[in-house]
């Protein structure tokens, strides 16, 4: 019998996945027993959601993209009942979506978009909990740690600290009670890797935590997940309950004397809580403010006990490493960076979504080979990596490999995996301002330089984008950046100047254009634009009606004009014109 699987990650639901699911359910009522209906997580092709996979009894499968409820009837009738695929709606199969999966290597995302995340049985069928079983029944904690060290796995949350070494510290720290924390407080704008993993394969994260707990000798764990991820939290709760029922969590796991439990803590909306000491304060019920390190959480963390914190993607790698061996993991990647990395692709790239590539592929390969290049074939300008603490890498440097060291050299960071692609229509000063607005708002206020320094930097950027900047402002930005980096306790403050520094380094001419020529080359900063109307104007008067200041004049059916003295540069005329007659420069 055929099986219909519908992608119901947040991306699928936002695109209308639940309505499609319901439509299939109604069809199923009419054609009782004609097919199995299942849901799954995100397979990564967010740009083609809603995705529906139809698999035949023999294991072959094909996938439809951009499915809407009114397409469901035809799919059931022609494909499921009639056995003929509807070629024009296919995303997979001959000649379609060439290359999206070719350069990918799926370790973390091995089950995402494939299994039903609500079913622990499907996870177990795919080899789930075999890694934990091996670790607990056949290995000593030291052997587990050695295997993880051998794999070369480094923290995927952004820090890049070697995971095995961290575990070793926590294991070696004196203390009766030790904790494990999973940092699922993914907050970088443009990053959604962890959410998709939790929604698509929550059990893999739990299994990784069980193995880590065994290795360091912890008895209790927390998953700290942002409250903005309700679906991920629901999936986690379900997976924890099922794991308890199956004896993977609780007392005497796999018949050993190892007992372990996992609880969920919902975050309450504070970006700084992604920093480990702030996260711990938040779990303890306090304002989530970072504290001085040392002592590191490995020595004194939650309730002053030794605590190991890793992020979602890091834990999701662990079961695979234990099951397949550290050597196999280390076979992927470069000298410095092993394994794979998941990236959330957003911005001006043709295929937005989730990709997992082995370390060592180049940024260009990800953008052009995997993700199909830039939308509308525009000029590729830069990528932003690492979110608000990261930086922009110009197109000319994008032949570098995905590798912690090589990326750091550009001034950006690997970060947690947000990769925002920018084209010729993106203003780099505006991008710097965007990220600084974010960090400025999220600064917890503890360190003066972060609290006030970012505010001053933001004011300077606002001046520059308003056409009121001076060349001296650029020096001030540099100076403030150095001070904020030096005098902030945590990564939020230390990283906050990075978007500004990297854009100033690689796109200085754009800053100068804003300051000296009072022009925004990408036509983004509205105060620096001049709106004019060209001969394409048909005199339809739509713009004149839309203009809030009556700055547009002209007779009906004649080319209109803009009175520059009255124009407030709101851009309304540009958005309403249907003839491309309004030009901004």
């Amino acid at each position: 019998m055929k099986t219909v699987k519908i992608g119901l990650g947040t991306c699928g639901i936002s695109a209308g996945g639940e309505k499609v699911y319901k439509a299939f359910q109604e069809e199923l009522n009419q054609h009782a027993g004609a097919f199995n209906l299942k849901e799954t997580g995100c397979i990564g092709m967010c740009y083609r959601e809603v995705l529906v996979e139809v698999s035949n009894g023999d294991g072959s499968a094909h996938m439809y993209g951009e499915v809407t409820p009114d397409r469901v009837g035809r799919i059931v009738e022609e494909d499921i009942v009639g056995d003929a695929t509807i070629d024009e709606w296919l995303v997979s199969g001959e000649g379609r979506e060439v290359g999206f999966f070719d350069k990918q290597q799926r370790i973390v995302l091995r089950n995402c978009g494939i299994i039903d995340p609500g079913s622990i049985d499907e996870y177990v069928e795919k080899g789930g909990y075999q890694g934990a079983r091996r670790a607990l029944t056949q290995m000593t904690p030291e052997q587990v740690i050695d295997e993880v060290i051998k794999s070369g796995l480094r923290g995927r949350g952004g820090g890049g600290f070697p995971t095995g070494t961290k575990w070793k510290f926590t294991r070696g720290a004196p203390g009766d009670k030790k904790y494990i924390i999973c940092n699922a407080d993914e907050g970088d704008p443009g990053a959604f890797m962890d959410r998709s993993i939790l929604e698509g394969d929550p059990s893999a994260v739990l299994e990784g935590m069980i193995i880590a707990a065994y290795a360091i000798g912890a008895v209790e764990a927390y998953v700290y997940c942002r409250a903005e991820y309700p679906k991920a939290i629901a999936r986690l709760r379900q997976a924890i309950a099922q794991a308890k029922k199956n004896g993977f969590l609780g007392d005497n796991i796999f018949g050993t004397d190892f007992s372990f439990n996992i609880k969920i803590k919902e975050g309450a909306g504070a970006f700084v809580c992604g920093e480990e000491t702030a996260l711990i304060a938040s779990i303890e019920g306090k304002r989530g403010m970072p504290r001085f390190r040392p002592p590191f959480p490995a020595q004194s963390g939650l309730w002053a006990s030794p605590t190991n914190i890793n992020n979602v993607e890091t834990y999701a790698n662990v079961p695979w490493i234990i099951l397949n061996g550290g050597d196999r993991f280390a076979a992927y990647g470069t000298e410095d960076s092993k394994g794979t990395k998941v990236f959330a692709m957003a911005g001006k790239v043709a295929r937005t979504g989730l990709v997992e590539v082995p370390m060592g592929v180049t940024i260009n390969e990800i953008i052009f080979d995997v993700c199909g290049g830039i939308i509308d074939n525009k000029q590729f300008k830069a990528v932003q990596m690492g979110g608000p603490s990261g930086g922009c890498i110009p197109a000319a440097m994008c032949d570098i490999q995905i590798d912690y060291q090589q990326i750091n050299k550009t001034g950006a960071i690997m970060g947690s995996g947000g990769l925002v692609v920018m084209d010729e229509n993106t203003c780099m000063v505006d991008v710097a301002k965007f990220f600084l607005t974010f960090t400025q708002a999220e600064s917890c206020g503890k360190c003066t330089f972060c609290r006030i320094g970012t505010k001053r930097m933001l004011e300077i950027l606002e001046r520059i984008t308003a056409g009121e900047g001076t060349m001296e402002d650029l020096d001030n930005l540099n100076e403030l950046s150095e001070q904020i980096k030096a005098a902030s306790l945590c990564g939020l403050g230390q990283g906050a100047p990075n978007p500004v520094l990297t854009t100033m380094k690689h796109f200085r001419e754009e800053y100068e254009a804003h300051i000296k020529d009072k022009k925004c080359p990408a036509h983004v900063c509205s105060a620096l634009l001049t709106y004019t109307i060209n001969e394409k104007c048909t005199g339809c008067t739509v713009c004149a009606t839309a203009c809030p200041t009556d700055a547009i004049f002209g007779a009906r059916k004649a080319v209109h004009m803009v009175d520059q003295n009255k124009c407030i540069k709101c851009g309304k005329c540009f958005t309403v014109c249907r003839f491309d007659a309004v030009v901004k420069d």
Partner: protein
């Protein structure tokens, strides 16, 4: 009104506190309170202080630290504008301007009749649909100012009808 409030307090899960018995449960307790009333009132803070023994001022400090907690009620229709990176580069600013213009409210504000509240969110996770807004739980994607105006006007109509039904 006061009686009503006291009655209502019983409905949120104060047991969260008893189970854990440690300070860490303060945030879940506040979340439960907000789920019940839609916001954290001064009275709720005093009540939580009474249960937990944590000074009201400390609780207020926690409430104001986290973006999730509100000290004022929200409107009937909550509009969340995504200001994540993808939406930003795809024109979230135009979307915000259009809402400001059409409903006359800015971020963190509620319209005078209590119908609409406007919030900014970092990323709602459907970057492929950028720019995106949420009105309560309904997603509206690939918006243009013109498309958005239509959506907002349909909600205004709905509000008007609801008011009429209530009055009639």
């Amino acid at each position: 009104m006061a009686e009503q409030t006291a009655e209502k307090f019983k409905t949120f899960n104060v047991d969260l506190w008893k189970y854990d018995g440690q300070a860490g449960a303060l945030i879940p307790l506040l979340q439960s309170a907000q789920d019940t009333y839609g916001y954290i009132s001064e009275k709720a803070i005093d009540y939580i202080s009474h249960i937990t023994g944590i000074p009201s001022a400390d609780i207020y400090g926690v409430v104001t630290f986290y973006a999730q907690f509100r000290t004022k009620p929200l409107g009937k229709y909550v509009i969340k504008v995504c200001n994540g990176t993808a939406c930003h580069v795809n024109g979230a600013k135009n979307i915000t301007d259009t809402i400001n213009d059409e409903l006359n409210i800015d971020y963190e504000e509620t319209s005078d009749d209590g119908s609409f509240s406007l919030l900014s969110v970092a990323c709602i996770g459907c970057c492929s649909l950028a720019p995106v807004i949420l009105i309560n739980d309904e997603t509206y994607g690939r918006l243009t100012p013109a498309k958005l105006r239509k959506v907002l006007r349909s909600y205004k109509q709905r509000v008007k009808k609801e008011a009429q039904t209530e009055a009639g």
